[in-house]
Amino acid sequence: MNWQEFALNPADYGIPNQQQLQELRIWSDHYHGFWNLRGLFPPLKQHEEMMKYVKRMGIEKVISLDIGGDDDTEALKPTPIEKEEREILENNKDHILGIMRVDAEFPEESCAKMEKWIRNGPCIGIKFLLQKNGYKCSHPNADKIVRLAEELGAAIYVHTFLKAGGNPKSINGGNSPGEATPMDVTMLAKRFPNVPMICGHSGGDWELGARAVRPYENVLFEFAGSWPHSGSVDYAVNELGADRIVWGDHGPSRSFSTELSKVLDASISKSDRMKILGENYRRTWAKMFKSKNIPA
């Protein structure tokens, strides 16, 4: 099996071939290759397997969200593969970068982890995920973390989702404890209007998510980790502008097909497509990349 060969030419089927994908300079801001799925592979082997697809699909760079710990609700719980992750990030800057998780319940410890992994390590940013005691990114505790991120010029990623549920059913009544909504991001964004941050998963519900973040120019809107809806990127471009949208692959639990199709479906210029697929991320955190000698 040759991973660089295609039995048919994708361009004959209305989608970009590998070279055309490479020309788009795609950076995925949402790579889960190191996430322990407790499935077919241990994390390092899984990453190795994932990179075959990354290369096949012409992706220039992926940004892992699981560096230094991949526990969904305990962001500060260390990973047993810390040494290997550090080596991979330090030696493969041309195709993989990493961000690390923080916990708003423990700002001091989160900042210490940032010192270790960002100021004195290979990571380029932080992620707020779930939090078992309900400390979301909007909690005042997060301010200390965000201030340090601002000082370091670090990328800030916030997992958000609007999960319909509850009784009576509401747009976020099905959210997990400590799971932020786009509205939580806007509360943080309002406190830090000059700090760029990503509203992850386009808020789960992209129609409502885009409405929520629309007034906050420092919020980037991410398409990753959701089912592909035709017209969704067109809608976001109309509401937010192409300069505020970033993209991620969310593999291995999602496919490049699912995620890329959202952007390929959009009736936008090649220039705007390139912005969404990587240029916006490179531009927003250019200083960080320069300071760490990361090819961008």
Binding site: M1, N2, W3, E5, F6, A7, L8, N9, P10, D12, Y13, G14, I15, L37, G39, L40, F41, Q46, M50, Y53, R56, M57, F161, L162, K163, A164, G165, P168, K169, S170, I171, G173, G174, G204, D205, E207, S226, W227, P228, H229, S230, G231, D234, D249, G251, P252, S253, R254, S255, F256, S257, T258, L260, S261, K262, L264, D265
Partner: protein, 307 residues
Amino acid sequence: MTNLKKFTRRNFISTMTAAPVVASITASNHEHETPPDNKPEIIDTNVNLFKWPFRRMKYEDTKSFSAKLRQHRITKAWAGSFEAVFSKSLNEVNSRLAEECRKSDKGMFVPIGAVNIAWPDWEEDLRRCHEVHKMPGIRIYPAYQSYDLTHEDFPKLVNLATERSMMVQIVGTLEDTRVQHPIVASREITFEPIPDIMKKNPRARVQLLGWNDYVNDELLKKFVTETKATFDISWVESTGGLGRLIDGNSWFGVRTPVPVERILFGSYAPYFPLESAVMKLFESPLTLEQMKSVMNINANNFFKQVV
């Protein structure tokens, strides 16, 4: 309405006038399995026409949708109607669907009618799908039509459709329940009754659409080893998911391999971008034979078994 012709085995035989229409569709497909330019065309077994009630679809206009399909080398599309999911006037929905398919982009759309066994006299809708609208199959949406597949009429539906040589497409997921409009409460269903019903009727031709959330590995094994059910790829997910489905090496652990002969291209457009399903053919390093199977050969074979 009591004067409408009811289906019986006798008048079934006398109403096989649908067959020539269906046969011509199949022949047309067969001719294009691998055209002279060696670029196989695609048969999309899972599209929908008309309006989704909660959002305007980018390609909801049939003409623009058809052009979009052709842009991706899709030359045949088995089309249901989004209206069928919510409307109680299914005959009206099916009539509109048949008419739209007939008048739009000749030969592109194959109408797949809707039947709801939870509603009275559904047998008449089935009869009309076959005899009046000349449809080769029906599509059911139990999670939205609000019945379980344990419903006493479900085996009857499969049997009657099979007697008429019609395919039955069973739809699992239509949308991510997490982002449904809060007013919607789609039903929790299970596909578990299907294999036993198919085993009792080996001639039944069943295709599962949007099936992934409803079929765990144990059930998948039953479907693969005990039935001839086929699967679409619209909701097949994970990196390289199609190749891994064939190989049985899911990222989440070893799974029952699904023979490539049982996998049919299905996009769930225009709800999903067409690019999603098309790109799945290329994301995994499939062989040419595997690609051709999924692109059209399996759909043609499935169709031929139906007619």
